[in-house]
């Protein structure tokens, strides 16, 4: 048993922490208010080689491990959750399926620009009528002249406005009266492909969430990602990895909220003493510190299992579920400790609370995580 980070992981942590404090945190409040996407930050992350973190060097990646991915996602999210989700989705939803299921030619063509940061990564799974039940996909890809002709729509897709291409799931046929779902790589500038960036969101305002409309979008057959009919299996595997990213985001936001709350409680005086001297407040802060520590440990465990090539489905679900619920409790209490000031945007904590809510929803809601865990423990 060894809880130490490796020398590389430690150096990555220091570097990204410094970057997050100096470059990401300062504009977070303004970006949330103005809903501006952090383009410049992602240019810098690209220059630092962070955009291809876990992917092979031959495609421009850095060959780092999942623990490092969790560290970077946590630190970015601590500074700005919108930056965190953009990064997490870029790596774990955009790049990962290409790396896992793509041919070497596809990786050369589509993974390389993701590693360099030239394109952001995105993944189009959710549809208006197919969310938790992602198998309920209605988007179709029929075949004509050696091409797929894709029709349908996707909703809530992260990063698509900044992606040059993304994998979407679509029905490619029927087998034994069951829908055959496949993943197909589609360039976003293809004729008939529209990306709509119009949502008014509760939080993560500086992140890019889009609606995709596909009308007779034609791509050649070699755009099929992985095996035909494996689409469902592939996105389950993809989401396992993505959940580690969401868990890490949750830890980062919670950490930020806790640090603000602790600092505020030490400075703010009521009834002649600091809030941090009241046991009621101390207990809140103690619970926060404990829960964050546990959530982080679980995120690292799931990441470590993945790095060891072991089964990690259950642990990924557990870390995502636990960390996102911790994040929601902690951010709520951080607002509480700030009293009326916490309700004001300039104190940051209300943003953490709004941003954190997504983590109980995206990449499988809390209910879905409990279903996954229940299945894993043999129910």
């Amino acid at each position: 048993m060894n809880f130490d980070l490796t020398a590389e992981q430690e150096m990555i942590r220091r570097t990204i922490k410094e970057f997050a404090d100096e470059e990401v945190a300062p504009g977070a409040l303004e970006r949330d208010l103005a809903k501006t996407f952090p383009v410049g930050i992602f240019k810098q992350l690209g220059k630092m080689g962070m955009m291809g973190l876990p992917f092979p060097e031959e495609y421009g990646g850095a060959g780092a491990d999942t623990v490092s991915f969790a560290i970077v996602t946590e630190e970015l999210s601590r500074a700005c959750a919108s930056t965190g989700i953009t990064y997490s989705a870029h790596i774990s939803l955009g790049g990962a399926p290409l790396n896992l299921f793509g041919t070497s030619k596809q990786k050369q063509e589509y993974l390389t620009p993701i590693c360099t940061g030239e394109s952001l990564g995105a993944f189009g799974l959710t549809e208006p009528d197919a969310g938790s039940d992602a198998g309920g996909t209605k988007t179709t890809a029929s075949e004509a002249d050696e091409e797929f002709v894709i029709n349908g729509s996707k909703c809530f897709i992260t990063n698509a406005s900044y992606a040059k291409h993304l994998a979407v799931t679509a029905i490619t046929g029927e087998k034994n009266e069951k829908k055959e779902i496949s993943a197909i790589i589609v360039p976003t500038d293809q004729k008939g492909f529209t990306v709509i960036d119009k949502y008014e969101k509760m939080g993560l305002n500086a992140s890019n969430t889009t609606e995709l409309v596909l009308e007779d979008v034609r791509v050649s057959k070699d755009h099929l990602l992985g095996k035909r009919g494996d689409g469902f299996k592939q996105f389950l595997i993809t989401l396992d990895g993505g959940r580690i990213g969401i868990g890490a985001m949750a830890v980062g936001i919670a950490q930020a909220a806790y640090e603000k709350a602790l600092q505020y409680a030490q400075g703010r005086k009521q009834f002649g003493q600091s809030l941090s001297k009241f046991q009621a407040i101390q207990f809140k802060l103690a619970d926060m510190a404990m829960e964050i520590e546990l959530a982080r440990t679980m995120v690292f465990k799931a990441a470590w299992l993945k790095d060891q090539g072991r089964v990690f489905t259950k642990e990924a679900s557990m870390c995502k579920l636990y960390a996102s619920e911790v994040c929601n409790r902690v951010t709520n209490q951080a607002v509480q400790i700030h009293g009326g000031y916490g309700y004001m945007k300039e104190f940051h904590v209300e943003r953490y609370m709004r941003d954190g809510k997504l983590l109980e929803i995206g990449e499988g809601t809390s209910e879905i995580q409990r279903m996954v865990i229940a299945r894993q423990i043999g129910c």
Partner: protein, 257 residues
């Protein structure tokens, strides 16, 4: 060009520092590359990239300094040398460090040696000039700009807020002042490669030095934190009343007069 950078591991003075039993508690403290040395590393890399050659970072310290050396390698330095004095020296000072560094640099045919202007812990600003003196090469402190052209070097240095332009020739030792450059973040590929770059570890023996040769010339009597900052006082009223009050406070309370 054969470039050397002198680098010290120091605690981060922006983080909380705790003193116990007359020394700084290392457990839980954050350690960094001395910020002025970080400018030196950055400048060395830039000069190497434009002029060719090799950057070697050298640190005198303990085992733990390997982390800071690896960080410099991740930024882009080519080689690192750790002169580990952990087992040999209990109380060193600037004399100790510069003597060891000079002994190491002797015969290395360095074209350019870069150091920090001061280390933020000790704050003496002595190591750079002392090393140059021992090596019998010229030195220029607190530089804010450097251009190398063949063996001639043009330097701008900070003189208490003003700047002075100096021309010099290699070999040369310079110390970096804030404003020299904006140190880069180590890149992720740089971090991944840092472990594979050469890091040589030496001890006093390897430099043919005895503990007596480098014995400190100074003694640390006491280490203490500056007094806690009290809330300020704003004087009010007529100007001459304020002045009188200020003078009396400077005498009686601040006791500076």
């Amino acid at each position: 060009m054969n470039i050397f950078v002198l680098l010290k591991r120091t605690f981060d003075t922006e983080e909380k520092i705790v003193i116990s039993n007359g020394s700084i508690v290392e457990d839980g403290a954050e350690f960094i590359i001395n910020p002025y040395d970080e400018y030196a590393v950055e400048e060395a890399i830039q000069i190497r990239d434009s002029q060719g050659g090799e950057v070697t970072v050298v640190s005198v310290g303990g085992e733990e300094a390997e982390k800071q050396l690896r960080t410099a390698l991740a930024m882009g330095a080519d080689k690192a040398v750790l002169i580990n004095i952990e087992d040999d020296i209990e109380n060193g000072d600037q004399f100790t460090t510069s003597k060891i560094l000079a002994e190491f640099l002797q015969g290395k045919e360095a074209d350019l040696i870069l150091a920090g202007n001061v280390a933020i812990d000790g704050g003496s600003g002595q190591v750079g000039p002392r090393v140059a003196d021992l090596l019998d090469i010229p030195y220029i402190t607190t530089i804010t700009n450097i251009t190398v052209d063949g063996t001639s070097v043009k330097i701008v240095r900070d003189v208490e807020g003003d700047s002075e332009t100096i021309e010099a020739a290699l070999p040369l030792l310079v110390t970096a002042q804030q404003g020299l450059n904006e140190p880069r973040y180590p890149s992720l590929p740089g971090i991944m490669k840092a472990k594979k770059k050469p890091l040589e570890e030496l001890e006093l023996d390897d430099l043919d030095l005895d503990e007596d040769d480098v014995e400190a010339k100074t003694k640390t009597i006491e280490i203490f934190l500056p007094p806690k900052k009290e809330a300020g006082k704003v004087l009010e009223g007529e100007l001459d009343v304020q002045v009188k009050e200020l003078v009396s406070l400077l005498h009686s309370e601040a006791k500076v007069i």
